[in-house]
């Protein structure tokens, strides 16, 4: 079986497992919605554009750490051995990245909808803001999936997940905040091309490195 069909089957498996329990999805949705609500009750309203933008990304950061930290925890040792015998490690990590990206895309769209509902603010260029959010969720997914693979081998502590992933995600977060701020202010689209290019580049590098490194992590 080639890599592509393995990945397809593994993604289907993830989706079916998720659909049966609905644990991760519901848990994370509730997490993000209640976080936004807590922020709403404490801030009441935000007039300032940079604050509005930064708060949204901070909420997304914590929600995505929580969402993706679970991705290797649900599998017990026996099941991992089983995957090891039937699939290549590249297929496993790739399927996790794709699945987490899908999860994050859904999550970020819902979060953005709810966030704009409670904190009313005008976005200058809604299409580009949406693109920045989608690009951000894919970047979060690709970085956090590999880190959660690393922490899953190190006693699965969630504190370790935060320590390891925050320094790695900060450059991406800074680029995303800049990009989305440009979109928010309705600046000319060509201003953000630099950021989009670097973000896509980082994503590509992270995914390639994950593919190269995961086989070592996997064999235990």
């Amino acid at each position: 079986m080639d890599l592509f069909s393995q990945v397809k089957i593994l993604i289907r498996k993830e989706l079916i497992l998720e659909w049966r329990s609905k644990y991760a999805l519901n848990g994370v949705l509730l997490y993000v919605v209640s976080t936004i609500f807590v922020c709403y009750l404490s801030f009441k309203e935000i007039d300032n554009n940079p604050t509005w933008n930064a708060l949204f990304w901070i909420i997304m950061l914590f929600a995505s750490v929580n969402a993706i930290a679970k991705s290797f925890m649900q599998e017990n040792r026996g099941r991992q051995f089983y995957y090891y015998t039937i699939a290549s490690p590249q297929a496993v990590i790739l399927s996790k990245i794709v699945y987490n990206s899908l999860l994050m895309l859904l999550l970020s769209v819902i979060a953005l909808g709810f966030y704009t509902l409670v904190f009313k603010n005008s976005i200058g260029d809604p299409l580009f803001y949406l693109i920045s959010v989608l690009l951000g969720s894919v970047s979060f997914a690709s970085v956090f999936t590999m880190i959660s693979g690393i922490t899953s081998k190190a006693n699965n502590s969630s504190a370790l997940m935060a320590i390891l992933s925050f320094p790695v995600i900060i450059p991406i977060l800074m680029l995303l905040i800049k990009f989305s701020k440009n979109a928010m202010d309705g600046l000319d689209r060509s201003v953000s091309y630099d950021e989009i290019g670097v973000l896509l580049g980082i994503n590509l590098v992270v995914i390639v490195i994950s593919l190269l490194l995961f086989p070592y992590l996997w064999r235990d």
Binding site: I150, L164, P171, K178, I202, V205, I209
Partner: protein, 221 residues
């Protein structure tokens, strides 16, 4: 004696950079004044740090290929030494910034980037403490080390170029080579960089050898 020529070279270059750095003439520039001499001490710290981190990544990759515990020990000791040089770089930089920019910690992408890079490598050391089993610890931390390195390169070299920075060479500021500086600066600066890098590598190999002895001692007893 045949193997230690580079250590002697490192010492000689350091001695030269300290003496030359304080005594040789420097270009007279506004604001910077005599503090420009810090160039010979602040910038080589970062060169030493980057070279040590690079050595560490190379040995982490080597460990993943070979599985020899020695490679892992060398990678750790490189990070340990690199973190020290990073702290020296931050301290010498904030002393300099306090004089020229009027603030020990101005909001500058290069400063923030190197602070975050420090966090990344401290996280690497914490990760090592979290795992007890030796082989497993070596492997997982090697994976994290390789994973974090390209992000650090983005952080320190690419991000500051995209945004405004107080540092020369980024965000529209002229690089040092474009400054009207005479070759006096270069005459001390390049030897200083080489001297600090060699000394850093020397310190790292000393720590590595102590670590090896400890390791051997622990396995026998």
């Amino acid at each position: 004696m045949t193997k230690s020529w580079w250590k002697l070279l490192g010492c000689a270059l350091l001695l030269y950079s300290v003496i030359g750095g304080f005594l040789m003439p420097v270009p007279v520039l506004p604001i910077l004044n005599e503090s420009i001499r810090n160039l010979y001490f602040h910038v080589p710290m970062w060169f030493a740090m980057i070279s040590l981190y690079f050595v560490s990544v190379v040995y982490s990759l080597k460990y993943l290929g070979s599985g020899k515990i020695e490679d892992d020990l060398l990678a750790v000791e490189s990070v340990n030494t690199g973190v020290i040089f990073c702290f020296f770089g931050l301290i010498s930089g904030s002393l300099w910034a306090n004089i020229t920019w009027g603030d020990p910690w101005p909001n500058d992408p290069k400063l923030n980037g190197s602070a975050i890079a420090t966090l990344m490598y401290l996280a690497y050391l914490v990760l090592r403490n979290a795992i007890d089993e030796e082989q497993k610890r070596a492997k997982i931390s090697a994976v994290y080390n390789v994973f974090a390195f390209p992000v650090m390169i983005v952080l320190i070299y690419i991000l500051p170029k995209l945004t405004d920075s107080l540092h020369p060479g980024s965000g529209g500021n002229a690089a040092f080579s474009a400054l009207p500086m005479d070759n006096m600066l270069r005459l001390v600066f390049y030897p200083a960089v080489l001297g600090w890098v060699l000394t850093a590598v020397w310190i790292m190999t000393l720590r590595y050898r102590i670590r090896l002895l400890e390791n051997r001692h622990n396995t026998i007893s």
